[in-house]
């Protein structure tokens, strides 16, 4: 590596370049106070020098040795269930200020700007509850399957964990992801624009196995109703064709049991379908011959069209992509130079075939690299090299899925659906990189 290259990232320019302008001036004042200048190089906030946990001490840098190279470390197994480094404490789910009236019927967004690859760590998977999150004793949890079946059944969790199981990687996206952007940009970061999106390896029993175990009526069965054990008793209608195809009764999430906020001890995974159908804390499956028209598929999760009509049962999440870095709220600290553009693409209709990236607001596009594996109804990571010339840039990504569908522009969505929609906003996202390197959520 060329140590003299000023464009090779801030670490070589550390420590002063870590600081904001405000922080830098404060640093100078602090340095004056502590004449001699061996001060800790603290972050840009008052009193940070004393706390110093994110500071850089030159005594810890080459050619010196930092204390962790000399002091005996913690015992093995000191953290029986590991937690992220204390330096990663910012990497958390967040609720959008003012979005919901209660903290129980609310949503916490996944920090997409901070994530690598396609798997969402379990503690960061987005959370959307309707009547709060229950904490369920798995020994007292039951799943009932009844309705148009030969024999109605009740399964314990012990039963469910004994059935033949499968593991598959799928995204879950709330139908209202990007809802706040239908009329105009309204939130600052990709966490809030797109963070009702996550992807995990789910393990469980194919729903078809359980339906067959109960002897569902193959002639009359047209739909199932899935119901949660939470206070909402949330219910959604799911076509039997989906249920027999790839729906999972899942208890495993990235190798461990589901987290309570994601449905512990068991939930439905309905690949490619609005998040709300992936019923958490699943307690009941009823087999029937007509849809149920539940509140979450009439009053909510339906789409008001410009002609006054309301679309119902809009299950499929269409192809969508977003650049997660650089993205809103970030700051390209080095004026110009190399930056990797990286983002996520997904489709409820199948696989991602291609992702194109534009740095000029959609005038010209280049095809991005796709990280393998590229899986059905799963997040796909794309990347593209970008040498920023230091002038304002408009970053966009546009994906194409295995059906040939091309992710639309916001304008195209509005032409058909107006601006009264809440759900199914899969528009191309634009990030403006201004001349200072600050990144903003805009429409172009």
């Amino acid at each position: 590596m060329d140590q003299q290259d000023p464009k090779r990232g801030r670490l070589l320019q550390a420590p002063e370049n870590f600081l904001t302008t405000e922080g830098r001036s404060r640093r100078r004042a602090l340095g004056g106070l502590l004449a001699g200048g061996a001060a800790l190089l603290a972050a840009g906030s008052v009193g940070a020098a004393e706390k110093a946990s994110a500071a850089v001490d030159p005594k810890h840098l080459p050619p010196n040795l930092p204390p962790w190279s000399q002091n005996l470390g913690k015992p093995v197994g000191a953290d029986p269930y590991g937690v992220p480094s204390s330096f990663e404490k910012n990497i958390i789910r967040r609720s959008s200020p003012g979005l919901t009236t209660t903290t129980q019927s609310s949503v916490a967004f996944a920090p997409l700007q901070n994530l690598f690859g396609i798997i969402t760590p379990n503690g960061l998977h987005f959370e959307r509850d309707h009547n709060g999150r229950p904490d369920i004793n798995p020994y007292e949890h039951r799943l009932m399957i009844h309705g148009l079946v030969r024999e109605p059944k009740i399964y314990t969790m012990e039963d469910l964990l004994r059935f033949p199981s499968v593991s598959r990687i799928h995204f879950v996206e709330c139908g209202a992801n990007s809802a706040m952007e239908w009329a105009n940009p309204s939130v600052p970061t990709v966490q809030y624009t797109h963070g009702m999106l996550s992807c995990a390896e789910w393990t469980g029993v194919p729903l078809s196995t359980l339906l067959e175990d109960a002897g569902f009526d193959t002639k009359q069965a047209k739909y199932i109703l899935a119901e949660g054990a939470d206070a909402a008793g949330l219910t959604r209608t799911i076509p039997i064709s989906f249920a027999l195809d790839d729906v999972l009764v899942a208890y495993g999430q990235n190798g461990e049991m589901l987290r309570p906020e994601n449905g512990y001890p068991v939930r439905l995974i309905v690949p490619g379908v609005q998040g709300v159908s992936n019923v958490k804390w699943l307690r009941r499956i009823k087999v029937g011959d007509k849809p149920w028209n539940t509140r979450e598929e009439s009053l909510q999760y339906s789409d008001a069209m410009p002609d006054g009509s309301i679309r119902q049962y809009t299950w499929i999440q269409e192809a969508k992509s977003v650049i997660t870095s650089p993205s809103g709220g970030q700051h390209l600290m080095d004026k110009g130079g190399y930056y990797e553009i990286s983002g996520l693409a997904w489709s409820g209709r199948g696989q991602i075939k291609r992702v194109d990236v534009s740095t000029d607001g959609g005038k010209n596009w280049r095809t991005a690299r796709l990280q393998t594996p590229v899986l059905d109804k799963a997040l796909t990571r794309f990347r593209m090299d970008w040498h920023w010339d230091g002038s304002p840039a408009l970053l966009q990504s546009r994906c194409i899925d295995s059906t040939g569908y091309v992710q639309p522009k916001m304008r195209q969505l509005r032409e058909v659906r107006g601006t009264s929609s809440i759900y199914h906003n899969n528009a191309i996202q634009t990030w403006l990189v201004d001349a200072e390197g600050k990144v903003h959520n805009v429409e172009a």
Partner: protein
């Protein structure tokens, strides 16, 4: 070890047994139990537009008025007008079947304590909300025969949309993957207003990993959420949000319930205030501050509730 002929015999016996018991209770895997009619009856609460699933019982608009004032008005407003929560006027504008209203109230409401109303109460509340929306007359009585027959104003507006009902559905919006010279003028047509992010979200630098070169330095970890968890006293303002107290109360003005400052002024210096307020909050009640009742609150732990009450009582009187 069985000899082959004996094994064949045993196998035949098993097959015979299987034929003799066509409705084998344990299925192919021998897992799960047969659900009894009683078990199913307790959980089988869903209601369809055709009325399937509606229980016996009934409720009138006037009965519903009482149920509503006692259980619903604290959030939805006396006349369903509150915009803080789902506006009940949406029922007239968006809902296509009255049965769905029954199903939802029955399974998910009242918000602090769902599935607590009797079938008669749910019928009554349903009738009252339909009447609030001018959908049924004041003498309407809801039951399993009348409810499916209610023609909702939005009924004909709501239609399934096949384009998103299957993977093979035809999309309604089409874009093409142009690669070069796709647009002449590209302009920023909309952005966030100046100061918006700072005012609503504060300093968002800590939303990013400072380690990544595209970000400014975040505040040190000691200033981050969770760092102060060791604090002995509960963070009352946070608890007020966690337990949705702030849905109905504010510090210095009446919302649905009284201002915390008014509660403090009323009870300050009263020796029994802590116990009195503990009972009021735990059991709920009405009459002290007006007719709209406060629902019983089981959420906060005893220690949290004590901290909340001491915090409320410590609020300075209004100037």
């Amino acid at each position: 070890m069985l000899k082959p002929d004996r094994m064949a015999g045993a196998l035949a016996a098993v097959l015979l047994l299987a034929v003799a018991l066509p409705a084998q209770a344990q299925g192919k895997y021998g897992l799960g139990q047969k659900a009894t009619p009683e078990q199913i009856a307790g959980w089988n609460i869903d209601v369809r537009p055709d009325g399937a699933g509606l229980p016996g019982g009934q409720g009138s608009v006037s009965e519903g008025n009482e149920v509503y004032d006692a259980n619903c008005a604290s959030c939805h407003g006396t006349f369903g007008e509150s915009n803080s929560y789902i506006s009940l006027t949406n029922v007239g504008a968006r809902l296509n079947y009255a049965t769905t209203l029954f199903d939802y109230i029955n399974r998910a409401m009242p918000f602090p304590h769902s599935k607590a109303l009797t079938a008669n109460q749910v019928y009554a509340a349903t009738a009252y909300v339909l009447n609030l929306n001018d959908i049924v007359p004041a003498d309407f009585v809801a039951n399993k025969d009348t409810l499916p027959k209610v023609k909702m104003p939005a009924h004909d507006k709501v239609k399934p949309f096949p384009g998103l009902m299957s993977v093979k559905g035809t999309p309604d919006v089409k874009n093409v993957a142009c690669m070069k010279d796709c647009a002449k003028d590209v302009k920023v047509t909309a952005s966030l207003p100046a100061g918006f992010v700072e005012n609503l979200y504060g300093d968002i630098r800590d939303n990013f990993r400072g380690l990544q070169t595209m970000n400014e330095q975040a505040p040190p970890a000691t200033e981050l959420p969770g760092a102060a968890d060791a604090k002995a006293t509960p963070d009352v303002p946070k608890l007020l949000g966690t337990y949705a107290c702030t849905a109905c109360h504010a510090v210095d003005h009446k919302v649905v319930g009284p201002a915390f400052q008014d509660v403090a002024a009323k009870y300050q210096g009263n020796a029994g205030a802590v116990q009195h307020l503990t009972d009021k909050i735990r059991k709920g009640g009405s009459g002290v501050w007006g007719p709209i009742p406060m629902p019983p609150q089981s959420g906060p732990s005893d220690a949290e509730l004590a901290a909340i009450i001491h915090w409320v009582l410590s609020q300075p009187a209004k100037k």
